[in-house]
Amino acid sequence: MSHVETRMTLNGKEVTGHAPADTTLVRWLREQAHAYEVKEGCNEGTCGTCTVLVDGKATTGCTTLAVQVDGARVETSACLADGDELSPLQAKFWETGAAQCGFCTQGMLMSAVELLRSGEKVTPAKVREHLHGNLCRCTGYQAIVNAVVAAAEEGATR
């Protein structure tokens, strides 16, 4: 089985891995880089639990091949906290109860970070429109919307 070498900057660190060319980004991150925080919920681009930022843009980890992001800058939610101290956005998620089972949380955080960094006006409706590709089955979205709006009001970008 021919393996392809892929290299990327993951959360600020250089990572190299060897995997078959049809390996999706989410599986590469989990198997080659042990980024277990990135989850795989459907493997067809629908649920959003595998969302990561590639060069700052929200990207579906299971419908993007790892080889396609060779040389790119990839960010997962592991880059948000400062050691064990939650980032401003994570702190809001904690306050409003926006993480119940937590399986959608990583992808939700990264889509929200893309919105916070976009400079657009962050209203509840804008958050719902930007995050509708990130499904959640536990919270009913209200706590997540409240958290992102509150983080935006404090100028948070992570």
């Binding site: 067809e44 681009g45 629908t46 579906t60 419908t63």
Partner: protein
Amino acid sequence: MRIDNQFVVPATPERAWEFLTDLGRVAPCVPGATVESADGESLTGRVALRIGPMNMTYTGEAKFVVKDDANKVATIEVGGRDRRGGGTVKAKIKASLTEVPDGTQVNLSTDLGLTGRVAQLGQGPINDVSSKLMRQFADSLAAQIDRPAPAPGSAPAPAAPVAEAEPINLLDSSLLPKKQLAGAAAGLVALVVAFLLGRSVGRRGAR
């Protein structure tokens, strides 16, 4: 899924019956078919189909379960498996001939059973593709039927050489299948069955 169809060929019922009951000669009319072995009664082979990025290869066999020369009524059973994708196809085709002024009308009525991921996700447009494929099969059958049969008494034509048929890409037929869209009943079915993925599986439109 039940699909009925009819078409007229410019040949006598006897000539049409003789052609139709020789699977070795009928099979090559099937778009995308590759015959591996065939005697008049049954045949084994592969049908490769490419629809957009999807490609399925069904390996299986077809055989006569009813062949009533007197009334010119026959039933063919088809079974095949996609050894990569894991889906299966089963079809029971009842064929009958009726003489008409300008030749013979071939009546086909098929019960089609599809399983596997293709059938599950592709229900929507399966009807559309069946009609397109059948039109090609019917045209090809009609063209073949009135070509002279091999001289009687000579050795039965050897099974068609194992030519790798180019998997057909269903592009050439440009007829907008207006009527065929109305439902399975309006379509035609041939030996092969059509499988098409309906809604693309991926997210909205190509990305």
